[in-house]
């Protein structure tokens, strides 16, 4: 394992896309890793100037410690290994993640996992807006992978996601799952306005009754969607996560929609 400790607090944005198992492994030695370029504001600098770096990347593991809330693009395009962060993290974490694991013991800013296509992200704290969402003007959000958030998320969660699984253990803001093309979102706290707006396919699983369901959704019965049990069991077994007991073996009210679009999506609301 290689350990990075933030030497002192950074005030300007630090563009640190070099922090990924792929790039560290490519660099090889601590010495060469320390010399990898980062942008601090507009200045090109070396990674070693910000972090105390020790250990070896041979086992594909990175641990970063410190307040990284101004550090952006950590784990960009990473395809393997484990990147663990103890502390809050800045925007664009795990952009384009293709594989491996990103674990955060702290909070995460906006644009988490933009363009992610595989791998796992686990966030112990809260996450900002536009997590797993498509970038402005892009047709697609994430296209794969599993994102587990133990806290709450902001607005526009999973916008236009094409594939993948997102679990939020607390609340989600407005427009959660808007424009979803496919994939699955679990929101285990409250959900904001217009969940699933313009979704085509895919599933939004809600533990709590939303304040409203868009009129372009249709009530479609109550049933036991067995895949929910399967997901719970699978995710709990394979990842550090625990779903509310109420969800287990439960029945759901189903709304199909959004009929402004294809209408093959569903919002499942857990029944008491």
């Amino acid at each position: 394992m290689i350990v990075l400790q933030l030497k002192e607090r950074v005030f300007l944005p630090l563009e640190a896309e070099v922090i990924s198992v792929d790039k560290f492994a490519e660099a090889g030695s601590v010495d060469r890793i320390s010399k990898l370029s980062v942008f601090y504001g507009r200045d090109k600098m070396e990674l070693g100037e910000f972090f105390k770096i020790e250990g070896s990347i041979e086992d594909g593991r990175i641990l970063i410690e410190g307040d990284l809330s101004k550090v952006k693009r950590i784990g960009k395009d990473m395809s393997w290994g484990v990147l663990e962060i103890h502390g809050d993290v800045g925007m664009h974490l795990a952009e384009g993640l293709r594989g491996g694991k990103v674990i955060v013991k702290g909070n995460v800013s906006d644009w988490l996992a933009m363009g992610m296509s595989g791998g796992l992200i686990y966030v112990d704290g809260n996450v900002g807006n536009l997590a797993c969402a498509s970038y402005w003007g892009e047709k697609r959000g994430i296209t794969g992978g599993v994102v587990l958030i133990n806290g709450s998320v902001g607005d526009d969660l999973g916008r236009r996601m094409r594939r993948g699984t997102i679990v939020v253990m607390k609340d989600a803001g407005d427009f959660a799952g808007a424009g979803v093309i496919a994939g699955t979102l679990f929101i285990m706290g409250k959900v904001g306005k217009a969940p699933g707006a313009e979704m085509k396919r895919g599933t939004i699983v809600l533990l709590e009754e939303p304040s409203s369901i868009l009129p372009s959704f249709r009530y479609s019965g109550e049933f036991r969607p067995y895949f929910v049990d399967f997901y719970i069991s699978y995710l709990e077994r394979n990842f550090p996560i625990k779903f509310p007991d109420k969800l287990r073996g439960s029945y759901f009210r189903r709304y199909m929609g959004d009929f402004l679009q294809l209408g093959k999506g569903e919002i499942l609301v857990c029944l008491d």
Partner: protein, 297 residues
Amino acid sequence: MSFKMDKIKDTFAEAFKMYGARIIITAVSEKWALESARSFTGFATSVIACGCEAGIERTLSPEETPDGRPGVSVLIFAMSRKGLEDQLLRRIGQCVLTCPTTACFNGLESEEVLSIGKSIRFFGDGYQMSKLLDGKRYWRIPVMEGEFLMEESYGVKKAIGGGNILILGESVDAVLRAAEKAVEASRKVKDVILPFPGGIVRSGSKVGSKYKFLKASTNTDFVPQLRAHTSGDLPKGVKSVLEIVFDGFSLEAVKEAMRLAIEAAVEVEGVIQISAGNYGGNLGQYNIYLRELWEGS
């Protein structure tokens, strides 16, 4: 009856003409008779994909079998005599002939018979011997264990397939519990079997599909989560539906089994309605109206 008729939908089950036979498998112990019978009746849930529908009718005490050993009676149904013959040949040949200590007897007196033993005897490679006892022909087919004894001819007669009930309820647990009770109750009826695993079907089907290549697909009207796509005929609160299918030698037996099944299921907590599957009444030869099952009783 003690239950309320209004829980039983005023509809009918649509059943079809089939051909059926009864095979009696005996062995040194009930265990081995059952091993053979289970193999025989496996993969036999619907004629279209399995070639036949089959099930264990009941276990037989030594006093009830032709050779005084423990036995199992098995019913098998197909759409034609030819189909039934083919399946009997395969299933006796693969699941009874092969099974330690078994013997195989006809369990259905009928004027029309299929001479299955006449074909299976050839397995004896010329060393088989026939025996005629009290008017019935048997084949002794030499096998490594010693010999396999089977009756030559098996009665075949017209039968009824596809009698059914649907159990609609407020949870999977409730309808499963009700269906299990229904299965237990209806298994008391002679001449009837329930061809699906454990007697219950959870995937009833309708004729046709959106896909041209598919003859049958999920019974949309009874799938509780598809209300957005149906007429909405499913009673309020229904969250799960299970079906029981009945095949039997007579309309009376099928009706009796359905009646007992409904009586057992309808009183289970969480059951909302008992209904039945039909295709409008024009496809099958028999329309069995649920509410008429108690007429005259």
